[in-house]
């Protein structure tokens, strides 16, 4: 885990990629951790015979948790998520190696002094884009700043 300050955040900065080998345990653990009991996330026969896909697959809320982890691995604990926008294009199955990449697409200090980074984060398996996520995350404006201390009108995600 790193810790960035706003001065380090520039358009075009790329985040270190994260690669992870997905197993059935990854899928089932992720589904249960998000209280998603639907059978396509734990029952191979349901997924293949009813859904017509090749295996059980990662559920969307657990993917959100992966994206959060990827972004805060970069920001460090003072990074505070403001907004995440998802577009799902394909499923992630056991046996896949998922690779997360991210790039800074914009920066802003808003009227209240809150420092923001906009990121495009992509989850790929091989050459296939599975999910994209646009992220707005607050980062410390300087070494004394803590975005988590903001409330009410001082927090505009």
């Amino acid at each position: 885990m790193t810790e960035v300050l706003f001065d380090d955040v520039k358009d075009g900065v790329e985040l270190e990629p994260l690669s992870y080998d997905v197993t059935s345990t990854t899928v089932v653990l992720g589904a249960l951790a998000t209280r998603d009991w639907r059978p396509q996330h734990h029952d191979y026969h349901f997924a293949t015979e009813r859904n017509g896909v090749r295996d059980i697959f990662l559920n969307a809320p657990n993917q959100a948790a992966w994206f959060e982890r990827y972004v805060t691995d970069w920001t460090g604990p003072r990074g505070r998520l403001g907004r995440m926008r998802f577009r799902m294009r394909g499923s992630v199955f056991p046996g896949d190696t998922m690779v997360f990449t991210g790039v800074v697409t914009g920066t802003e200090v808003d009227d209240t002094g809150c420092a923001w980074a906009e990121l495009d984060v992509t989850l790929k398996v091989g050459d296939d884009v599975k999910t994209t996520c646009q992220v707005r995350v607050a980062v410390p404006a300087n070494s004394d700043d803590n975005p988590w201390s903001r409330r009410g009108d001082r927090w505009n995600p």
């Binding site: 885990m1 249960l32 992966w66 998802f86």
Partner: protein, 169 residues
């Protein structure tokens, strides 16, 4: 993007608060640890109370867990029927007689942190409904729905926004 020709009963629903519900159980740390463990998230905010005390005045839940606190138990005694998550989406499908639907866009916006012990409540608001449109999937309508989450003090903790497209082939 609400269409001018929207039926009166649907136009009346736009902006109206519907399906207010309270969570089945309080936010708890066991689930927080299971979640961060499932994605190998080592953020000390969730593992080191000294860091949580310093940065967030005590432990918080990962923001992306927002909807987790609302998924119903797999079974509960005496339960007969439960409103579906995103009931407004299914209401629109039924109202316009559209058998198929996809979600084209989903976003989450985070406000006050969610903390262990919080009991969250949720409400659904239909934001807009389009005129009839034809896409490569079929003919139907787009609608935008917000699901708002609040804590027991009434503070807004997050909003999930969905764009659905209900259609017939």
């Amino acid at each position: 993007m609400s269409g001018a020709g929207l039926p009166a009963d649907v136009a009346e629903l736009v902006g109206k608060v519907q399906y207010e519900e309270t969570a089945d159980f309080p936010v708890e740390r066991g689930y927080i640890w299971t979640s961060v463990s499932s994605v190998e998230n080592g953020n000390p905010l969730f593992w080191d109370d000294a860091v949580a005390d310093e940065l967030t005045d005590g432990p918080i839940a990962p923001p992306s867990m927002l909807s987790t606190w609302f998924r119903p138990h797999h079974w509960a005694p005496g339960r007969t029927k439960q409103a579906l998550p995103l009931q407004v989406h299914f209401d629109m499908k039924d109202r316009f007689g559209l058998p198929e639907a996809v979600m084209s866009d989903n976003s989450m916006t985070f406000y006050e942190p969610v903390r262990p012990g919080d009991v969250l409540s949720t409400r659904q608001v239909l934001r807009s409904v389009s005129d009839e449109k034809t896409t490569k999937l079929g003919t139907g309508r787009f609608w935008d729905i917000d699901v708002e989450y609040r804590n027991q003090n009434g503070d807004l903790v997050g909003v999930e926004s969905w764009t659905g497209f209900g259609y017939r082939r």
